[in-house]
């Protein structure tokens, strides 16, 4: 499902080159719930961004759903992201000027789904995360846990094959964190969605199928 081969990522300035990832090879089979751990600055988020096609590796190849992503233009990559991937961020990244349901609709907007269908699918996704009653609220009216549930609804509304979650429980207390983790686990089990989650929390990582650790841009376990 996800295949990274000899992936390296370097950030270059005029004077310094920083290696965020070094020669990393990783395969995530379809339906797996994988967690990635490591100290801050070890390249976890960079790895997730490369898997999510929102950043490009300096070297190496990325294959998603059997397709090697090289030589694609921005429009094709955007379409691929829209259809295959869903993102969950630590700081939610909801659009505060849009209602909850409008936020959830976002991926469908770029898939040219009709208004009614968009609304139906979004409400369905909100129901799945238990937030049907908050559809017309604005993000600022919600708690952290509720915001993250909206973000999950947004990530799953387009029924992507892969969900990439960057510290989804990082900004939440342990109770809320467990709730979010429960939703993700259920998604993985019921829908077979492949989930790759970056986390700092050993407890959360233990709930996933497999854990890999990074240090200084290299895979250490």
């Amino acid at each position: 499902m996800i295949e990274l081969t000899n992936v390296s990522k370097a950030y270059r300035t005029a004077t310094i080159e920083t290696l965020a990832l070094q020669n990393l090879t990783l395969t995530v089979p379809a339906g797996e719930f994988l967690s990635i751990m490591g100290p801050s600055g070890c390249g976890k988020s960079t790895l997730l961004n490369i898997m999510g096609l929102i950043d490009e590796p300096t070297e190496g190849t990325v294959s998603l759903a059997g397709k090697t992503i090289t030589g694609h233009n921005g429009r094709q990559i955007a379409k691929f992201r829209n259809e295959q991937l869903g993102f969950i961020f630590q700081s939610f990244h909801l659009i505060n000027d849009l209602t909850v349901v409008d936020n959830v609709e976002l991926p469908l907007l770029y898939r040219k789904v009709g208004t009614r269908e968009r609304r139906r699918l979004s409400l369905e996704a909100l129901a799945r995360v238990g937030l049907s009653n908050r559809a017309e609220h604005f993000p600022n009216q919600l708690s952290g846990g509720q915001k993250q549930r909206v973000a999950i609804a947004r990530a799953i509304v387009g029924k992507p094959n892969i969900i990439l979650a960057d510290e989804p429980t990082g900004n939440l207390d342990s109770h809320m964190g467990d709730e979010i983790m429960g939703i993700l686990t259920k998604l993985n089990e019921e829908l077979g969605t492949t989930i790759v989650m970056v986390t700092h929390d050993e407890r959360m990582a233990k709930k996933t199928h497999r854990l890999i650790r990074l240090s200084d841009g290299e895979r250490v376990s």
Binding site: G52, R75, A78, R81, F87, H93, L98, R154, G158
Partner: protein, 442 residues
């Protein structure tokens, strides 16, 4: 999708009232001025009545009589010393130079004999302008600007007749005492603009004229049609009809069958002037007959420049330059405001791109949002401009020129809004649409 963009753009505008106010103020004020200028431009040079056939007209307002004299010049090309003698190598240039000229409107006989029969002209309007005449009624005196015009004047200039009709060829032949007056003159003299005025008498100077028609006053003040009262050309002082001189008090406007035929007519007029027998003139020996399109003639008139091409350049280059500068300053300001506004929404752009928006989607969204802002500003600017136009017209602040807000002006204005909105939105939107998702969400 556009509904989503629209709702979002309105929310964004409401979110930052001060920013919105500053942006809207700049847009509204700029667009208001632009609309006033558009309106002034349209009133002055637009194809409004009686200038609907503007593009088929060749204005022939006057002729110039010139005295040319031989003028020989000797140019020293080189000097050499030859056996202690200075020797010059020179070039002799024998040419003619203009030593005197006299220009002005033309004589009645001249225009009748030479301009009326022009082959390329479908109609030739003859007129004598700027004749002040006093009107009298019930012990009151009114001052009018009268134009003496021939029957074809009404074919060339399509005045908007409110009541009655125009003067005709019989009126010219019989020197009938009939008049076409403007609505303003009707109001001044009769106190009303209605059908009842037709057929009523007006005492003008020592003669009585019967009103044949009432026209609405043209939007602009032009030397070709700024009369209060129009009378048959033959009712003018008979001495002015008998004068044989080239110069006199008459101008002409020719109408050709299609705009493309104007050049041919201008060539015909130039040919006539160049081959004109000037033997009857004991001083001048060359004739020039001014001929230009309406817009060229306008430029020549206000800039006192003979060459129509040069006059057009002298008029339009500074106007376009100033206009560009006038639009560029608020545009740059708005671009600047937009850059910071769009930059603030970097995170949103990152999220949208992460969930499938491509650069084109982002570009469309932000240009659309800016168009919404500009349209609101344009609407406010338009309302302000209409109020100002009404005020200017009601108080005749621009003399005889009255500003209009016709459908055409609105269309011009709408175009200006769209261009303004697009230009001020495209650069910031383009910059942000190229942002990398990972950078936006960091």
């Amino acid at each position: 999708m556009f509904k989503n963009y629209l709702l979002l753009s309105l929310k964004v505008l409401k979110r930052k009232p001060l920013y919105t106010f500053i942006s809207l103020f700049g847009i509204s004020f700029t667009l208001m001025i632009l609309m006033l200028l558009t309106s002034l431009f349209d009133a002055t040079l637009g194809a409004n009545k009686p200038l609907t056939h503007r593009d088929r007209m060749v204005m022939v307002p006057m002729a110039e009589r010139i005295r040319m004299e031989p003028d020989t010049t000797r140019k020293i090309d080189s000097i050499v010393m030859d056996d202690e003698q200075m020797r010059y190598d020179t070039t002799l240039n024998i040419a003619e130079e203009q030593v005197s000229n006299s220009n002005g409107p033309m004589g009645y006989k001249f225009v009748n004999k030479y301009l009326l029969p022009l082959e390329g002209a479908q109609h030739v309007a003859l007129f004598s302008k700027g004749n002040n005449v006093d009107g009298y009624l019930d012990g009151r005196k009114f001052s009018f600007n009268s134009y003496y015009v021939n029957d074809q004047y009404w074919d060339v200039f399509d005045f908007d007749f409110l009541h009655g009709g125009c003067l005709n060829v019989e009126d010219d032949k019989q020197a009938n005492k009939v008049a076409v007056i403007t609505d303003k003159s009707a109001m001044t003299y009769f106190g009303k603009v209605s059908k009842d005025v037709i057929g009523q008498e007006m005492l003008l100077g020592e003669e009585t004229f019967r009103v044949r028609g009432i026209v609405s006053r043209p939007l602009s003040d032009s030397p070709f049609f700024s009369g209060d009262i129009y009378l048959p050309i033959t009712t003018i002082d008979p001495r002015r009809l008998e004068d044989d001189a080239i110069g006199g008090g008459f101008g002409a406007v020719c109408l050709v069958s299609s705009p493309g035929k104007r050049e041919a007519l201008k060539n015909e007029i130039n040919f006539l002037a160049e081959n004109f027998d000037m033997s009857a003139d004991d001083f001048n020996n060359k004739l020039k007959i001014f001929n230009a399109s309406f817009v060229e003639g306008y430029a020549q008139g206000i800039l006192q420049e003979e060459d129509p091409g040069k006059a057009m350049r002298m008029m339009f280059i500074p106007i376009i330059g100033l206009l560009l500068l006038f639009v560029a300053l608020p545009l740059i300001n708005l671009v600047n405001l937009n850059i910071s506004r769009v930059y603030e929404r970097k995170e949103e752009i990152g999220v949208r791109k992460a969930f499938g928006a491509n650069a084109g989607d982002i570009l469309t969204q932000f240009v659309f949002e800016n168009m919404v802002l500009t349209l609101i500003g344009g609407l406010v600017g338009m309302l302000l401009a209409i109020s100002l136009i009404n005020y200017i017209n009601a108080n005749d602040l621009l003399g005889l020129t009255r500003l209009s807000y016709s459908v055409r002006v609105f269309l011009y204005f709408f175009l200006v809004i769209v261009v303004f909105g697009f230009l001020s939105g495209i650069l910031p939107a383009y910059r942000m649409s190229r942002t990398k998702v990972a950078d936006s969400l960091r």
